[in-house]
Amino acid sequence: MITNTTKKVYKAQVYEIQKVSVSSYLMEIECDRKVDVKAGQFISIYCSGLTLRRPFSVFSNNEGRIGILFKERGEGTNYIKSLKKSDFIDIIGPLGNGFEIKNKKSLLIGAGIGAAPISFLKTKLDEKGIENLFTCGFLNKNEVPSCVNIDKIYTDDGSLGEAGSIINYLGLLINTYNPEIIYCCGPNIVLKSTAEMGIKYDIETQVAMEKVMACGIGVCRGCVIDIKTGAETVNKSVCKDGPVFKGNEVVW
């Protein structure tokens, strides 16, 4: 097979799959060539027998060895967990816009599996020498992926780090860390709370959204959300225009 090196289609092989918390897994795949991925972008994996590809935000990338950190969801992740080292895997990507990195003191907020793109963003910020604090909330200590280096952990049950939902600590975090920009990925409620805090404290927020997708490239209009642009509200696709949006522009 001849691979067209200019297109977003890759021949990839599984390098490793490991369980990294009670409910999450890290899969690393090796692509046939180097891939440039921005933090917040995703790859879309063909899962044997399923019509729709499954999108996964990128957790790590070393010269085309791409890591995805994922939680068990259903048929798609069942397929991925059935793979072993050296198996071929069909991916397209990188897709989506990714976070727009700014040279500003950055507060990084992850929640649950939302830690994946935020962790990748931290790597990028560290490489650029941009001051940042990576905070992340989980249900309990068993949910914390072993492959993620988090500066400050919150657990709902208090089994690790600060006790309680990270949402309740947003104000305190902002007041003590004084960030100039906030990046966030997690469940909708965390994204929304972060966006509201950004508006309240007049700090730019970038939130990574999630929605069931069909095409992954903006054509089918299956994953659109309402975004405010000036006085208007328009449809933006999570897959192509996003997944990262400015928190103050999302209609929640």
Binding site: T51, V219, C220
Partner: protein
């Protein structure tokens, strides 16, 4: 570039090959160029275009099914003015063959669209008379032979280019609708549009039931037998060229449609699964013809229909 053994003539619309992409799955022009060379396709059929821009439906728009998917996009599109100003120049610049899919909710809207297309020398149009996701208009034309005849003949009067009509399978007799298209002097029939269906997805997590319900157009591999059946019935009752659509994923599917009587095919849902599907089928079809020693596509079709 592909040799001309795949050349396809649909009542005067000459295409390099019979592999097209279905409306709503391929955008307006070059959106797939990150995956393939779009100009290699016979043609793309644009997303349905309406007179005014449409925002589409609000609720959950897509859901996967066992053998395909259901969509309820609701004809979100940029409207014809923006299409002509922003999307059409790209099609021309990149030499992408296209058929413009048009949708309206009243007869007057279709007539207005037809006039605009004629004025702008659009070579080929496909009428969407069968969108299952829009409450008024559209679908009603597609289910009643008299309304359809009136619609197609009215459009025919205003539009001189290639005119295909995309039929819905959600009817008792698709033959009568196909005959109405022929009487109204359409140039071809596209069959089929999506099937109306509903998926109820139940996720039970920690004893709590999460229910997602999506009603809309069912497409993908599961609809292929319905589409093949429709193509056969249309072929038996009209002389119009047929563009077969429904669940095509691989070369065998394409051959089945040719055998049923289709002269060209459109690839839809499979584009989402494998964005390179349509281009691959162009190459595979050419190789298949050469390997079998057929002279060209026309000879292959004849053999398949024996």
């Amino acid at each position: 570039m592909v040799s001309n053994i795949l050349q396809t003539n649909l009542n005067g619309l000459v295409l390099n090959n019979p592999i097209l992409t279905a409306s709503g799955t391929y955008g307006y022009n070059d959106e797939y160029e990150e995956f393939i060379d779009v100009s290699n396709l016979g043609a793309i059929v644009t997303k349905a275009i309406t007179l005014k821009p449409r925002a589409g439906n609000k609720h959950t728009r897509i859901i996967e099914t066992k053998a395909g998917m259901i969509n309820s996009i609701g004809l979100e599109n940029v409207g014809i003015e923006k299409f002509l100003n922003e999307k059409l120049p790209v099609l021309k610049e990149k030499n992408i063959n296209f058929i413009m899919n048009l949708a309206g909710s009243t007869l007057d809207e279709y007539i207005e669209l037809a006039k605009i297309c004629n004025k702008n020398s659009i070579k080929a149009v496909e009428l969407n008379v069968s969108c299952p996701n829009v409450k008024s208009g559209c679908l009603e034309f597609g289910v009643d032979e008299n309304s359809l005849y009136e619609l197609v003949s009215s459009v025919r009067q205003e539009y001189k280019g290639f005119l295909a009509v995309k039929l819905t399978p959600n009817v008792t007799s698709i033959e009568k609708l196909a005959q109405a298209c022929q009487r109204a002097e359409a140039d071809a029939i596209s069959a089929i549009n999506t099937l109306k269906g509903t998926r109820i997805k139940l996720d039970i997590i920690n004893g709590k039931i999460n229910k997602t319900v999506v009603t809309g157009g069912y497409s993908g591999r599961g609809v292929k037998p319905v589409a093949i059946g429709a193509v056969i019935r249309i072929k038996q009752t009209t002389d119009l060229p047929i563009i077969g659509i429904g669940g095509i994923e691989n070369l065998n599917d394409v051959l089945e449609f040719f055998a049923a009587g289709a002269d060209a095919v459109q690839i839809g849902t499979a584009n989402f699964t494998h964005p390179e599907t349509a281009e691959k089928l162009v190459f595979e079809l050419e190789n298949f013809i050469k390997t079998n020693g057929f002279k060209d596509l026309e000879e292959l079709k004849k053999e398949l229909r024996k």
